[in-house]
Amino acid sequence: MSELFIELLSEEIPYWLQKNSVEQFKNKIIDVIIENNLSLSKKVNINSNFTPLRLIFSCSNLIKEQKSSIKEIKGPPVNAPENAIMGFLKKVGISKEKLEKKKINDKDYYFAKHQVIGKKSEEVIKNNLESIITTINWQKSMRWTHDSFKWGRPINNILFYFDNKFIPLDFLKTYSINNNSFTVSHKKIEKELKFKNFDQYKKKLTNSKVIIEQIGREEKIKKEINNFCKVKKIILKDEYNSLISLNAGLTEYPDALFGKVQKDYMSLPQEILEVVMINDQNFIPLFEKNNNLSPYFVIVGDFIEKKFQKDIVKDNEKVLEARFADAAFYWENDLKIKLESRKQLLSDIQFHKKLGTFDDKTKRMEFFALNLATQLNFQFNTNHLIQAVKLSKLDLTTGLVREFPELQGIIGGYIAEKEKKDKIICLSLKEQYLPKGPSDLCPESNLSILLSLSDKIDTLLGFFLIDEMPTSSKDPYALRRSALGILRIIIENNLKIELEKFFNNEIINKYNLQNTKNFEIKNLIIFLIDRFRFFLKSITKRQDVVNAFFVKKSFSSDFLTLYKKFIALNEFINKGEGKKIIELNKRALNIVIIEGKKMSINDFINKDLLQEEHEKILVDTLDKVKNKIKNEQEDFKSVLNTISCLYIPLNNFFDNVMVNVNDVKIKSNRLSILKKVLDTLKIYADFSKIQK
């Protein structure tokens, strides 16, 4: 058995492209292995790894050579014109007397038996390698030395080993790409590494400061941070794991170094410090046990010898301080102009050409927020609400937000605090953009909810009104995120509101648009439902249950009720009763499908034809269940309890009542009963779509 292993060595590949490209690379090679039967067992040991400079694939247990086989190729009919037969002979490369005849559907055809000689596995892979490498789909790709070669970043060398042997690749010459039999160490060591197999390759690389596993690099960073944190009695927050992954993807041998922020800057708002550290430098902030920012932060370097660490930390601190100094300068300046007196500046900032300035947006938001508050029966102080909305976007005119856009809202909140505005207002300003992503928290205070909802609704409805809806690949205004935010706020805060009714003409008129003829409210609701399905799937990981739930074409836009109904279903089907119902539903469906092909099944049950006790009981129960499903609007658990009452009568029906009787009238009536069972259950969900 042979080992295959390939290394693509390149200039620095951006972190966000690494994982996806190595996955594609791996899958393409596996496809070749499978298509060409290069593996006998399913136990091939596949490894794919990456560093910023390398995509690595290795796999053991491949056969050295394909087995030879005989392949039968179908040719033209025996009575086909001579030139067609000649053409076939030419294609398969044998003489006419060697052809065989076979009958297919009463017609004679020529067949050629063709011996396929097994190729060496290395040849098969080698012949496919050019197309494997050049068809990796990069979201961003470039050309360098050779005009026709496009890749994520310039490739420096390609290494192909099979069966402990280096195999040269001729096609690389055309693209001026190196084809050395060795790899290189960490850049700082500058060594050429020779080896015979993947194991040696990995060992030699580890010895010269290259950890090829992303997870190994992540763990190294985490360990070093945790050791430091123990000593300093501080903590690393879980939410910064993604920063660790990023740093691990930017280094071949990460070394965690620790810097300290000068005291003077610690008085700046904490979020400013965090954003500057993270966005500018990929530094990882560390926290006190009370969740306040600690003065310590992590710098991840790429193989830093002890003796150089101190200087490197100092330099990094200096860069950070220069950025903090910038931020402090903006912060002081921003505090000089009162929030309220920024209103004029706000009318200079365009939200969208057709949707006006941010001042226009704020005016709409005020109307939307007051409307929402009334519909939601919120206890609220009208003055607070109006003030919060009016202040909400003013920080867009500050230097800090212009420099650090991700701080919008937060800066406004801080300035409002300095201006001694009501606390609840300051909080709502800071929380108005929540939730920013799927894992972000939702706002909880009434004022924050109203601000966030009215902002998101204004954006979503506005772009739909001007026909700027997202497409499958483009969502430039992040409307999916807005929609998901709206849904999560509604669900997590238990808000009952029918959105379709909220988007009424009075609301739409606030946009003062001349032309909205392409707008249909239906499209907006469909978009929201689509996001809602995505959300339900992401929290339950059950695509089948989501599909079972959304069988109808139209839905109410009261997402809270829909959510409760869905969750009740999801809990139900995980319990014994739910499973039983799924099973009986399936049994009923099978009979209805099979018999339905032979005769039409009536929707109407003729009670006079009911003979057996068990069918009478089932029909009675069905009526009760149907009533309950149709009329209960809130308590979905009790609906599902009623549905599980169907189990015993239905089971008894199956056990004691023959469907397939000679009397056609009775048979048809019994099929109608089963059909009614199915139709009744379907009012809640299509149980047949649920896998166990």
């Binding site: 470039m142 360098w144 030395t145 310039p154 190196n178 700082k188 990094n316």
Partner: protein
């Protein structure tokens, strides 16, 4: 500053880079004698990166960004500063190694420092140009840009060039370990034991130009200048003289930057000015490449 006597001066950094690239197959040319917003504007790059002929050049380019002036008060920002530019066409194999060695020639040993290549794709809307590459950071500070040109003037680059831009002031601050650009040692005259600093040469100029750029430049004139050079460029294009036509694009771009610093260009207007320059640059490039063929 223990070894201040042996520190590499600003002019030494330039000498060393020139020597290094000269020894690495480059022709050391001189800057364009016009106000440019970036070293890339040099016709040797914008026009030179087009076409099939190979070209390896390096030069220092004084650069102007009127909006970055801070009246000499900010330790990191200047309206006039220097870039060291390298253009290699076609992009050589393993150019990154050569680049790292160039850092060593100015006292930055990649083994002793943390050099990072941070994804930073480049785009110049006025030049209709774009490329993929990195910003190079040394211990967290951005010191260079390293870009593979993909297109210029809307024309696909074939072969592809690699462009390396060194921010000379940043480098000098890092090498000399000073916190303000004005404290950079420009020249260390060992015989006379005299030190010339950046501020001796440029502080007063920064103050005056900041005042001029932000407060005094006559916008009425600037609008007219823009119109003049725009028309001149079109005339020259009609006469098939793309090189002088392109120089007028450079002028137009500078007048636009000045108007921007004076804050008299609105959002929508801004876009239309950029588009005007871009379409002129595009025509220059198209005619230039036709002539080369």
């Amino acid at each position: 500053m223990a070894s201040r006597k042996n520190v590499l001066s600003f002019q030494d950094i330039i000498f060393n880079l020139q020597n290094f690239w000269s020894n690495n197959n480059c022709t050391i040319i001189q800057p364009i004698d016009l106000q440019v917003g970036a070293g890339t504007f040099h016709p040797a790059i914008v026009l030179g990166a087009l076409g099939k002929n190979s070209r390896n050049i390096a030069y220092v380019q004084p650069t102007r960004r009127p909006t970055d002036g801070r009246y000499g008060k900010n330790p990191n920002r200047l309206q006039h500063y220097y870039q060291f530019q390298v253009l290699l066409k076609p992009s050589p194999k393993n150019i990154q190694n050569v680049f790292l060695r160039s850092l060593k020639s100015i006292g930055i040993d990649p083994k002793k420092n943390n050099i990072q290549f941070k994804e930073d794709d480049w785009e110049s809307p006025t030049l209709g140009a774009s490329g993929l590459g990195w910003e190079v950071r040394c211990n967290g500070m951005e010191i260079c840009q390293y870009t593979y040109f993909q297109q210029i003037g809307g024309i696909k680059c074939n072969p592809v060039s690699v462009e390396i831009t060194y921010g000379l002031e940043r480098l000098a601050m890092f090498i000399q370990k000073v916190n303000s650009v004005f404290d950079i040692i420009w020249n260390l005259n060992k015989k006379e034991k005299k030190t010339i600093k950046y501020k001796d040469i440029y502080l007063e100029s920064e103050k005056q130009f900041s005042k001029y750029n932000f407060e005094l430049a006559n916008t009425e004139y600037l609008f007219k200048y823009f119109e003049y050079v725009e028309n001149e460029c079109k005339e020259l294009l009609n006469k098939n003289l793309p090189i002088p036509a392109y120089e007028n694009c450079i002028k137009a771009s500078h007048y636009f930057n000045m108007l921007d610093a004076r804050g008299v260009i609105g959002v929508a207007q801004r876009q239309s000015y950029i588009l005007k320059i871009r379409s002129l640059v595009k025509s220059c490039c198209e005619i230039y490449i036709k002539q080369e063929l």
